[in-house]
Subunit: 451 residues, 2 copies
């Protein structure tokens, strides 16, 4: 796995020398008192271009000659790049290792596959759109929005075809929600072979979506309030992606969305139109959305009759289990990372629930024997990621790090053995178990399962 | 202005033909009843590759030959691009006109200039990091984070130099805040020549920031609680950017931040470290942050003694006026856009206050004679943008569109003439007046000032 090198986990990168050691010692132990600063500044001014600020801190002392002559780094002494050097900006060249990645061998072809978001290197709750996980069933296209059409038909008085311009004139809402593939953490049902949090939990992202509530469109078309019990959502890619959504859910908080994180959807995420079904597994968030049909019964499409069903121990399948139950994971420190020394660490991670808000997150460093409350960051939104942080001083002993989320319904995230008692070990979907990371005395972290 | 063409304002783009007109009419007026759909599907199957879905909606009828033979668009019949085709994703090729832009002639050199965020084409509150506004004083650099150092000195017991790794181990917080340049809307003091909302209000962005509270670092260094009244923040670019922050503010919600919208800061926004000073004008959010000094009085640096001061009508200057007062603007429809027909429109915009949360936003379509409450989107956070939406049916008459925000302190966004009574017309900074967009009967929108 190419993302397991030392650069990926920030915790791992060793400090490099920058300041001359003696000068750094002097600065850190004595501070830059006015006299000293004045002397340094004079030395510096004599040797180099003037800087407007009184501090000559960020320099590197020359080892030869006068040790007080500072050479400031290039970025402090030169004219930088102009505004709109990148009219659409990109990350730093030092961040090129943080990418979404495909799991080699997981699927036969990359057009019907998954790429995982690099949770170990992300912060807060907003997933950068460039790193949003991908799950395609027949690849992705960049569709011309001026040619795209969206139809509502079935049990409606006035079936309609909308252009993008038609839709974008309608009353819109903006809401932050997580999206998780139903198969996230799938490999954890049977074993714990998956090496990093990117691959165990990386089919998870969170964005601010903007669009028109589906309820507005269903009203606009005069849906049949007596007979209409379900809607079918259909994508326009070649996979024939179709999913059933119960009408109560469709009328509640479902959005026909064109925007994600402030701009139009990215092509990989359904540009120019996708369904947002808060709390429900990603497959129902139909991308490249072209049609909603109102019907009187579930449609039992291939992606809800053959795929996205839960195999139970008795050989039966559970169908239409689409709500993502309460779950959490520590994203850092996590498997594949290495703690380079003892001392203070900020344990951080994400919690979410398809049923509503997160009420509490607990963290354990001893494999679940003892739990302490983590700090929850804002905002506090339903069906949205919640970032948690936890203060921890590592004494160098082996440890097992876990997080456990509790949502506003009172539901507590289960242990993997509790889930297996009900579901067996051969499921693919809907694994929301507590995740364990084993920390060795060497500082190395790995994926383990504890019971 | 090259962004005033028909592509920028989504409201402007005329629908293009896609479905054969007769077929579209049939679909929209009659719906696709099962028999009809079955017939269409059979025709389609006979002529083209099978699709798994029962709908052949998204096609275009051939004008020659059998009008019922549908050709689906290429994206519905071909294998798309694989996952990680872009390991770090980019916007659609159809969105290349939505860019941050420099205002020609506003400044002498582009390295000490401004680029504006294209508010007219943004949604929700999160600014895509690639479109975050820029304001540099000596250009931007991409600094190697492994070599970057951050120092705290001055009135502290233990001055310290931190590496990025040191900082990122500390307790972190994630919070959403707006950042607005103090000079945003500067051109509106004297006239109304600025043609679009990108140039009137585009020095405004909003992101989720992650970092360590400055209070944690000041405690870590043992700042002098008696004598320490102010801190100085210093950037490491060549401009010698230095700003004073009162200690109470520094200890309240100021963050030494490394992340923005889930990933490391972009180079143009201070990578790898910037100060986040919620509610305060952008210049104090020092980029490429290298030093905080604790002192006993304001530092009166060049950027708070010569620049970023408010010229009053009597020739005196106001200094240290750094909090961004309550403000709002309609981002669409807005100047430079054209409404192509009458009927329903969603009026949408942004509101914010450096004093806390937004309590209410009112919208007027008659130049401020009558006001109605707008809908506010979630989340409801202090010192953060708030998206508002307002239902409106345009009857084709001329109109003047305005928004007016009220924050949780009860402060009401002023009219431009109210501000001018106090501040005159020669200020540059801190213009938070109500913005007016004039809608002509032709559908064209322009920037006007009403009294």
């Amino acid at each position: 796995m190419d993302d397991r090198n030392k650069k990926t986990g920030r915790i791992q990168s060793a400090p490099e020398n920058f300041l001359d050691a003696d000068l750094a010692h002097e600065i850190t132990t004595k501070g830059l008192n006015p006299e000293r600063r004045s002397f340094m500044l004079k030395s510096f001014l004599a040797a180099s271009a003037a800087i407007a600020s009184g501090s000559a801190f960020a320099g590197k002392a020359k080892s030869a000659g006068d040790p007080n002559i500072l050479n400031l780094p290039e970025h402090s002494t030169t004219l930088g790049k102009p505004v709109t050097a990148n009219p659409y900006g990109v990350p730093s060249k030092y961040e090129t290792n943080l990418l979404r990645r495909e799991s080699p061998g997981l699927t036969r072809v990359s057009a019907a596959s998954v790429s995982f978001a690099p949770l170990q290197g992300l912060f807060g709750i907003i997933t950068p759109s460039g790193l949003h996980f991908e799950r395609h069933h027949q690849g992705w296209h960049d569709i011309d929005p001026s040619k795209h059409r969206f139809m509502i038909n079935g049990l409606v008085k006035n079936p309609k075809v909308y252009t993008m311009d038609d839709l974008m004139r309608l009353p819109s809402v903006s809401r932050m929600h997580f999206i998780e593939c139903g198969a996230n953490s799938a490999m954890e049902w049977g074993n714990n072979a998956v090496p990093t949090v990117q691959y165990t939990h990386g089919m998870l992202s969170c964005s601010e979506f903007t669009g028109v509530p589906l309820s507005v469109l269903l009203d606009d078309c005069g849906y049949d309030k007596k007979k209409g019990k379900f809607v079918l959502a259909e994508g326009s890619d070649g996979s024939g992606m179709t999913r059933t959504v119960p009408i109560d859910q469709a009328l509640d908080d479902v959005i026909v969305a064109w925007a994600m994180n402030g701009e139009m959807l990215r092509p990989e995420n359904g540009y120019p139109l996708r369904l947002v079904v808060p709390g429900v597994q990603g497959v129902s968030w139909v991308k490249w959305l072209r049609r909603i049909e109102v019907g009187d019964k579930p449609y039992a499409t291939k992606d809800e009759a053959v795929h996205y069903i839960d195999l139970m121990p008795d050989g039966q399948y559970r169908q239409y289990t689409s709500i993502q139950e309460c779950k959490s994971v520590i994203t850092s420190p996590s498997a594949g990372q290495v703690l380079l020394d003892k001392g203070f660490y900020n344990i951080t991670g994400l919690a979410w629930s398809g049923r509503g808000k997160i009420k509490r997150v607990d963290v354990s460093v001893d494999g679940g024997k003892n739990w302490k409350k983590a700090r929850l960051e804002s905002p506090d939104l339903p069906k949205c990621l919640r970032r948690f942080n936890f203060d921890w001083v590592w004494d160098g002993s082996p440890a097992i790090l876990q997080s456990r989320a509790i949502d506003e319904t009172g539901y507590v995230q289960p242990k993997i053995n509790e889930l297996r008692e009900v579901r067996g070990t051969r499921s693919i979907y809907h694994n929301n178990a507590i995740q364990s990371w084993k920390l060795a005395a060497s500082g190395e972290l790995s994926n383990v399962q504890t019971y």
